[in-house]
Amino acid sequence: MAEKILILVGTKKGAFIVESDPGRKSWRIRGPFCETWPMNHVVGDPATGAIYGAGGNEWFGPAVWKSRDFGETWTHSSAGLAYEAGEEPIKAVWSLAPRNGRLYAGVQPAGLFYSDDRGENWNHVEGLQRHPTRPDWQPGGAGLILHSLIPDLDDEDRIWIGISSAGVFYSGDGGQTWEPRNRGTRADFLPEGQNYPEFGQCVHCLVRPKGESDLLYQQNHCGMYRSEDGGRSWKSIEAGLPSTFGFPAAVHPRDSSTLYLLPLNGDIAGRFVPEAKAAVWRTRDRGETWQDLREGLPQENAFFGVLRQAMATDVLEPAGVYFGTSGGALFASSDEGDSWTCIAEHLPSISSIETMVVRD
């Protein structure tokens, strides 16, 4: 069966598609797409083959873009993607997640929408806005954004979200009601003695492996964490990492104990890779121990960062791992992170990376 692997790249100036055969040795770059709008997240829906892009443009506002021919042509829509008149308008779409025919979108200022007609029309999940903590949510450096979006593929009532900097929230009733799930995660930026609030933590990236109902990982502004109870409680797994600070996290497609991170040197130290030497950090045991992976990555004068949605794995065997930098470079590993190759340079600053396997 012929296959193709697509790396879906969201950048500050449009979406790109980088593609290869399953050998992942030779790559072709296509783009920029989406009229060079800033694209915060580009995802593929394996059920339909559609590619969706979450964007926001200073001129034209928020929209979700869609391609049904693997990037050759695109349309966009924001029908229904709006708060009530008089409320602060939506600035951009930040995250997308398909689930069983439904497409979810997280927006800025933080809110959740869904479409049941493949991105043509959008409906507001109003329960999140009604949460009693909503008036006290504070924006992070990128604004008050709903960036992490994890609908449970097996239980349509369950969904987790991450908001900077309101924290992790969970709904078990399809979005009607929500509860903060941040116990055990720190907020070092709050006054002494108030560092473990119910909400207000700066979650940077929330991920959930397949095949484990309640296992979650999160890279936070203040540490790295694992939860084995659906986020009700979190345990620090930052021991052994070079920094408590970073943005992205990516799970292995088949092994729930394997996770990839790309720690940065600190929130007030430049936010680039530690000592200007690039490394992806991998755990095989749910964060109990960590290994730095450097082969093929620049080990001097690397002053780049990697944003919260800019690292991903693929579903091939062995698993591929990818990350995109603030400087527009795209690095790929086709051996689960053991070695790396730079497969694109000089792209616009990369906001997101996702992968999609296309079978003829």
Partner: protein
């Protein structure tokens, strides 16, 4: 040039659209004649012709987007700005980006 067949010629205005905006709506035109007595009616008419165009020009406040400009007879307009028959309206992108 595109024409709107609705209404009477007495309220007809000429709208000149930004090329960036036209690029977002295949089949749209840089110059379009429509019937409208205010900027809001003009935006509504544009949205009827090319669904979704309202969202690109206006936010949900509702107001003309911060980095969009609508000029009527040389002056920056708001949604409630009235339009005289024969008015020439520019919908253009403001300086923005980086």
């Amino acid at each position: 040039m595109a024409h709107d067949g609705e209404g009477t010629a007495a309220r007809r205005i000429l709208v000149k659209l930004s090329p960036l905006l036209v690029d977002l709506f295949p089949g749209s035109a840089r110059r379009v004649e429509i019937e409208a007595a205010s900027v809001k009616e003009m935006v509504d008419a544009l949205d009827r012709r090319w669904p979704g165009m309202r969202d690109r020009i206006c936010d949900s406040t509702p107001a003309i987007r911060r980095h969009m400009n609508v000029f009527v007879e040389g002056r920056r307009a708001r949604l409630d700005t009235p339009l005289s028959p024969g008015a020439e309206v520019f919908v253009i992108t403001a300086i923005s980006g980086g």
